[in-house]
Symmetry: C3
């Protein structure tokens, strides 16, 4: 057992979210339940100070405006300068040209420690042909593990592609996390909150790969347990938040990564 | 039975919402529970592309800014150009001059397929004297069916005036939908989500009048069933989302419209 | 018993919130459950009209942008001009220079009737040394009652510092309200909603000090009762909203204020 959840709750990391209007409340409540301290701030006048003071910064382009994109670049650079991890959630990366270019700008402007996305967003980042639809994962043919590893190597970061089975890659190693429940795809912001949860674990642990793997395992476990209470989306939501508050390190099973043979 | 709900769930329409900060989360969760795919986007840089790609666009002025009003005009025209339905939710239309003018601009800039409003908002659009209060329906004397039909004829659109009993008019026909529960007026965004639900049904059906009537019947049924679980607003909310996921075509009763004699 | 809750529900005050993207939904649902009528509006084009028409205006800097700060000044002055109370919620006042300056600007631009804050925010306003973290209360050494009274005298307003025990000061008198439950610090927006609830009570009562004391007692009572249903944050939330709808005047105990000896 890693003890990382206990460690997180003791440190109570300040997670600075620059996020969208759909999930801001859910992200904040999820982070509080986990034991982290959320703060949402995206004014250009304060993001550098907030990102420097926070334990990590999570950039989410779900309802991005151009002014906020610029503030995200400022925040990301400030976080980099302060040695704090930056998580990128490229929501609907393939849905519009604006989003594709925003992701490209953010990846170019700062060091991202983790990209947390779904399969469709991964495809958009990697330039793989894909049938995306809005912010859904969509459908297509892609070797998710290979593409995730490729994107990880290209951008020098971790890549977590989440869905029915999560894949975490750093370009050398890969780990798969299963569990959870299909109802998690029927609530909005499940991926967005997960990105912030990964940020909280990154702020709490010293080994980024293991921290994110633990975050993914935590989230699957919380979802699986909550679905035992209800697998209907409305009543699943409060149960899911409850489970984030209840889970302990002993409830988490984090699988060991596999070494990957490069193509 | 129409089978329209089944059809909607098979098509999984992408519902593009330009919406307010109060209801964005509730709208997204409601659409997901229904079986649609929500996407929120309001940056001028992407709304045309999003509106063209989406199955329908829902414009909601609940916390409107001037820049977003301009983006709404762009999105509406793009949706028109792509042959996709546009729904207008004139939240608090009578509350301020800014909102009255915004509604007027939107109605002038594009073809709206449906105006979904409450009685106070209808009065504001029709120029009828009314005691509105903020975004509440307010109170006054008005023949809702006659005014709805008149607004429908003037703007060449459907008008759904929702409340204790819903009225749907296209200028020729009227249908009344009853049911639901008073607690629905004690949760925020009940009307806003309904507008988006109407958009999803419009995207799924071929007969717009019947599609909206079915959406209204669906919503009343979901509200009525959820209120059997709890008629207190906090616990009603998750039950309401659950019912949106549970309802099937066989649970819906869509009354036949009546021909109206024009004044 | 004051009967103020009954009075509030009969008047159904329109509470104009200029608020943040995290709590807007929760604030609106809480105000509706209480029996008030929420309206969120922050466009410079309409805030003066909205603030004049509303029963009170609540300014919340949780995810403030510069443009909204200017609109808040306009709204505050309009509310002052119309004789309507203004509540200031200085969310995370000490977290960044931008927030400190925003609070200072707002306090200088209008008459505030109530500052509702946590201990960390009070320290920031009073210039007391404090270990704040984001929007959390943080930790430090401060005589909360003395500092609250001092800030109240300086700005000629009521100051409510809420936490495990709430303190309300007007510079002459102080009242302490206890109750509630620790889970209230594990849900986002508990303070933000409380500010809006205070605004609703201010709009309903004739004695501002007693109105706010009653609002604080109401909130503690709702939280305490909801925690009997569940002390886990996810399931606490709907129970809390339910209790806001259920509570009656007879359920509230509002302690008498104590006269304070000035330093």
């Amino acid at each position: 057992m890693s003890g990382m959840l206990t460690e997180l709750r003791e440190r109570r990391p300040l997670v600075h979210c620059m996020t969208n209007i759909v999930v801001a409340n859910f992200q904040a409540n999820g982070l509080l339940a986990l034991g982290a301290s959320p703060v949402m701030a995206d004014a250009p006048e304060e993001v550098e100070e907030m990102a420097s003071a926070a334990s990590c910064t999570v950039l989410n382009i779900g309802t991005l405006r151009l002014g906020t994109l610029e503030a995200m670049e400022m925040a990301g650079r400030a976080a980099n300068g302060a040695g704090k991890p930056v998580v990128l959630d490229p929501v609907g990366a393939g849905a519009t040209r604006f989003r594709r270019e925003a992701v490209s700008r953010l990846l170019g402007a700062m060091e991202i420690m983790l990209i947390r996305c779904n399969a469709g967003e991964l495809a958009a980042i990697a330039g793989v042909d894909w049938q995306a639809s809005g912010v859904d994962a969509g459908q297509g043919e892609m070797d998710v593990e290979a593409v995730a590893a490729q994107v990880a190597r290209k951008h020098g970061c971790l890549v977590a592609v989440t869905g029915q089975t999560d894949v975490l890659a750093d370009g050398e190693r890969t780990v798969r996390i299963s569990g959870g429940h299909p109802v998690m795809s029927r609530i909005t912001g499940a991926g967005c909150l997960l990105s912030a949860v990964c940020g909280a674990f990154l702020a709490a642990g010293n080994d980024p790969f293991r921290a994110v793997a633990t975050a993914l395992a935590f989230y699957k476990a919380a979802g699986g347990r909550a679905a035992e209470k209800s697998s209907l989306p409305g009543s699943f939501l409060p149960a899911f938040i409850d489970q984030m508050a209840l889970l302990e390190d002993k409830d988490l099973t984090v699988p060991e990564p596999e070494k990957e043979v490069r193509a």
